[in-house]
Symmetry: C2
Subunit: 302 residues, 2 copies
């Protein structure tokens, strides 16, 4: 029998990846919250640079209560991290002995929180490198990238990790395996802290933030602070990574980060997982990170 | 004969103080720029908590070219500091041997720049503590405070300083004399840096900035940095001043600083005189001011 896959947190990212899996025949069950009414009548509509697709209402397994969903073999968590306090109520009803939980959420600390609640052996982490938005009509627009980087929370990839990667690949989602989830999380933070943080606080796109020398100086200082915090945990990055990330971002053009979009749409910001956690670690390790600290504090005012 | 008073930079602040002087019979000549057409047809209309008044077009000495104005005995400079590069062209035509120049602009460095151009002996500095806006119809609304603190740029008050203070007092403007202009400028900066700077960058009123602990922490850190820079110049403030300024600001309610208003109206921000000058001094004196630095850099992106 096909494994049961549950998507918890069916915003743009959850809908896209869950939708790809469903499109290619996987047995996917979506837990919707704010979008439930829209998908219930219209189904899931995705415009994607990798090919448009839709799942009509009569073929979409849509729920708004996890207690009405089948127990899952794999749960993909794509909640905004601002809802992590609902992990227990949303995920517990879906669990059986062998259920795996893959979080593809942003920032730091999600795997740790899941491991604490549900046991570390079943936890996997994924980084979704994707540019994706929910449109006003409820449809999903996927307009760049799409790769998932996948790792075990504890230890190197296992057979099960490879199976999940293969499943994504068979469903048109590029997927790579990582040996070290922490390295990847911190590398993503080096970019996310300045661009999500400043993007939200200033309501600026990535290109606007680095259009001037002063803007680049802010971004570079924040990146250097994150690298210093990572180093205090034994995770080292070469100093050139800052130049590389600036170069890459310059090549991206005008990009609105998810946190800027959240701000524009008056949704809660993922401040704690993207800014708060690294700041907490910096303080514990006595690493001075004044720019990160000021950015964190300012982000609570927005 | 009555002394000729020229108002250079007739925005809300220049109009208000120049208007009070004219209302009470002084011989005031206004150099208008963006507001010229409006006042030429409607005159100067001021709503003030100290009493409304207006000066009709036929009694208002309004100019838009300083070369058409009479030479002045006293020039009151109320330009936005973003126009300080026009000091020479706007002020030079008004000068005679004995002309005094009083700048009531915001921030640091205005007296220094005027002294360099026109000689330090004729320069006075004033701090305008006033809440004043220009309305959309071109009228001026004065809704709180109004005092001017007046000092010589070099040395203690002289007979001439006292004469100017008396003139203001006779024209319904409270005016106090200061022995030390620098102390007063830095004290005002302790407040202006956080509230003008953050207010503009975040588009927040003063009460919003200190409504949370994190917000207060940002304001307090910026104040402490400015106090440290002042100390490096031998200007010392008692540490309680931070608590006092927070308390006072809490009592003010929702106040939009001039820089927040400039941002909302898409006018240039007085970044250099309020944030850039103290940062320059901090760097020269090797005082670490990361919050000020980040705020300065961010303000250039807004």
């Amino acid at each position: 029998m096909d494994p049961v896959i549950a998507i918890v947190g069916s915003g743009a990212v959850g809908c896209y990846y869950g939708g790809r899996l469903a499109q290619h025949g996987q047995n996917v069950h979506f837990l919707f919250r704010s979008m439930y009414d829209a998908v219930h009548s219209r189904g899931l509509v995705v415009q994607s640079l990798d090919g448009n697709f839709s799942i009509p209402p009569d073929r979409l397994h849509a729920y708004h209560d996890p207690r009405q969903m089948p127990k899952a073999d794999l749960i993909i968590v794509a909640l905004k991290t601002t809802s992590n306090d609902q992990y227990h109520s949303l995920i517990r009803p879906l669990l059986k002995e062998q259920t795996l939980i893959l979080t593809i959420q942003n920032g730091l600390g999600n795997e740790d929180q899941l491991a604490e609640l549900f046991g570390e052996k079943r936890i996997l982490g994924g980084l979704a490198f994707v540019c994706i938005n929910r449109m006003e009509d409820g449809s999903i627009r996927h307009f760049d990238h799409g790769k998932i980087s996948l790792a075990e929370f504890v230890g190197p990839p296992q057979a099960r990790t490879e199976q999940i990667a293969k499943m994504f690949a068979d469903c048109q989602v590029r997927c790579e395996l990582l040996d070290d989830l922490r390295y990847a999380r911190w590398e993503k933070l080096i970019w996310n802290v300045p661009f999500n943080g400043l993007g939200a606080v200033l309501d600026k796109t990535t290109d606007q933030l680095i259009a001037t020398n002063e803007g680049q100086a802010i971004v570079r200082t924040l990146m250097a602070e994150i690298i210093a915090v990572a180093a205090s945990l034994g995770i080292s990055f070469p100093p050139e990574i800052i130049d590389q990330k600036i170069e890459h971002t310059l090549s991206m053009g005008a990009y609105r980060t998810s946190m800027q979009i959240d701000r524009q749409q008056h949704r809660p910001l993922e401040v704690e997982s993207i800014l708060g956690r690294p700041l907490e670690i910096a303080r514990r390790k006595n690493i001075t990170t004044p720019y990160l600290e000021m950015l964190y504090r300012v982000s609570t005012l927005v």
